[in-house]
Symmetry: C2
Subunit: 190 residues, 2 copies
Amino acid sequence: MTLLEERIRRDGVVRGPDVLKVDSFLNHQIDVELLDEIGKEFYRLFSGENVTKILTIEASGIGVACIAAQRFHVPVIFAKKSQTKNIAGPVYTSKVESFTHGRVYDILVSKEFLRPEDRVLLIDDFLANGSALQGLISLVRDAGATLVGAGICIEKAFQPGGALIRSMGVRVESLARVKALREGIGVEFL
Amino acid sequence: MTLLEERIRRDGVVRGPDVLKVDSFLNHQIDVELLDEIGKEFYRLFSGENVTKILTIEASGIGVACIAAQRFHVPVIFAKKSQTKNIAGPVYTSKVESFTHGRVYDILVSKEFLRPEDRVLLIDDFLANGSALQGLISLVRDAGATLVGAGICIEKAFQPGGALIRSMGVRVESLARVKALREGIGVEFL
């Protein structure tokens, strides 16, 4: 998606070979007009799939997921990173290793909202090592729901997540695929 | 806002005198069409205020904030609950006590995105003890920005947060003000 690649080139900041900061428009400050274009593109890619639910993970996937969901006219579910007083009753859980925070945590979704008849589209801002996406896939499979694919804003294609998830037979659509991050030079796309 | 009150009456679940579960439409599963009506109402209330930024806190405020921001045509910033590799550089911080999680945590916003010339609208899903809102207000004041007010989906008006924040001179607009939660009976609104 040219618009997103251009925005990454303009406003993304490369902080070493692994770290791309996009916090001025995607995951700290959020440009909702850009998110609307991203949502439109996910809809173009997955509109034939009869999606019934969009599933993401807190926190930075929520904005993209909600604005994309307006196109699909379906609810968003966001997997939570810890048990709270406000989720009671049965849940699906899985484990996710966070590259950004350097730890492993549980994610959970209430069984009430993910049903065998659901056709689920996963949406997230980044795909790097694929741990978050694997966790979400596991929740969908535990629910016996149908996984239609994953819509990703930025894939770090030099990290193993994309290949891993595609090798599981999951359709992954990444709107910007980063080939390399070169500090002081910039971002190379596939 | 009648639509929201009706939805709370229909789909909210009262779990004791303090706990109102709205996770089927607001903060776990999200009804984006409802969020759009909520965003429209916040815009009606604050459209005269020349808002330049909407500030919320991860995670459950993000969806409402993003969809409201589409009406205002301004960016969203969400305060983060912990330092990550992806926020480098100077930040404003404050402390928030979570009623839901039973602990105190730091929230932070990059100084880059909250500027003295900004006119900031706070948005969140719940107002109960007011700790999250106080934390956000403190970030706005530290930045020297102008606080135009707070737009809240559900205020638990029997808890002290609303009175506390209003006594600070902050304009608080809550779309549903809960007077009492009665298990087995339901929700009473102000």
